[in-house]
Subunit: 241 residues, 2 copies
């Protein structure tokens, strides 16, 4: 069965956490809104459907036959075992889900660094507030979140190459994406990242070197980061005057 | 086995979504930080533990023997089947998890209505920004989220008494709490709630009338809403001049 991923076209956004899992597994999937003849209309048709009982609140969502799965953490929890990217041990799987939900919260904060007041307004209309929020985000939140993941890596009883157990999971792939995005958006705040978070830096390198991930990153399927997505590079939010 | 819930004392907060499930099921549980002789130190000892591999990022978290489960949605996904508060059908359970994660996002936005700039600062230090964010929250986000849940209720193929299937689930309990909290925090914005969201209003009434929930709400275990929690009543954020 071909998986159908539904997400906004033109940005990596939250959809990228799902794409990385599907790409690493070599899955057969369709990125629906980028398909000629389908596009964003096909996604909105499901969100606004009168016939579908299990409508999602927002993208991304996945269709696996009749099953609709919404929210990144839910999609990855669902896909993980099917793609061979989840711990086999149930207890570790619950821990992995908690880590993924911490990433969810972190991503929401990353988004709000450039949209602290209103989702419906442009960044330019909330620039002063974004500067204030980003200052807190850079000095307090980035170190808190990355410090947490670094501690979990260092504590992993199976060794610190992976965040859970001794094999690659969707959480490793998501942490790669978070690091990649933060380096794009906040290069100044992240400049001593390797020294401060050596375990995460190694994990980032390990994921980037996976053959299928490397091929994906070099392909046209991987869109570039841009200022419509979640990770946006605005120098003034990175502490440049 | 007695469940141990760890959360900040003195507020309902995110812990309340877990308490409602444990109370409805008549579970044997300990609210650890409210226990004489344990308190918040017992919670911080786990978060800062050097011995524990599966440290949580933040409260609430649940201990079930050696298993630590963090994040509300993860805790409820874990507890649901054990407490008889999850759909038996796997497909519905995935849908329920997606709904719970939509509630997670909504709760984060409710929190940020009074903390749009910095978690580390007081409300009074971000009052102007809170007013701007709350205006958007009241006029755009409350109707969007409640409208979504209302549509899901109305579409439920098993009838609209419950949000998923034909029996009470943790998602119903969480929706009760969201409605209860919004009515406390934004009474003005919520004044025509019953007319606009009739299905949600009926669900709120159904949950409030459950004997164990009614007993819990009348007990000293249910703390009152207050201005240290997530749902805060600041008249100026509710559109009063």
């Amino acid at each position: 069965m071909t998986y159908e991923l539904y997400y906004w076209d033109g940005i990596q956004g939250r959809g990228e956490f799902v794409r990385l899992a599907l790409e690493e597994a070599g899955s057969d999937y369709i990125d629906v809104t980028r398909e000629p003849g389908r596009g964003t209309d096909a996604m909105m048709a499901i969100i606004k459907s009168e016939a579908e009982a299990h409508i999602p609140f927002a993208p991304p969502f996945l269709k696996d036959g009749a099953q609709i799965v919404s929210h990144v953490a839910n999609i990855l929890f669902y896909l993980g075992p099917k793609l061979g990217l989840a711990p086999g041990d149930e207890s570790l799987r619950i821990f992995a889900n908690g880590l993924q939900l911490t990433i969810t919260d972190f991503v929401a904060e990353i988004h709000d660094s450039h949209h602290p007041i209103a989702l419906s307004k442009y960044y330019e209309d909330q620039k002063a507030e974004s500067k204030a929020r980003s200052a807190e985000f850079r000095t307090s939140r980035i170190p808190k979140f990355l410090g947490y993941f670094e501690r979990v890596l260092q504590r992993n009883p199976a060794g610190g190459a992976h965040i859970v157990g001794n094999a690659l999971s969707t959480v490793d792939l998501s942490l790669f994406q978070v690091v990649e995005g933060l380096r794009y958006a906040f290069p100044r705040a992240m400049r001593d990242f390797e020294e401060r978070f050596a375990g995460l830096a190694a994990l980032h390198g390990l994921v980037a070197a996976r053959p299928r991930i490397a091929a994906y990153l070099a392909s046209p399927r991987r869109l570039a980061f841009n200022e419509n997505g979640i990770f946006r590079h605005y120098p003034e939010l990175d502490g440049e005057s």
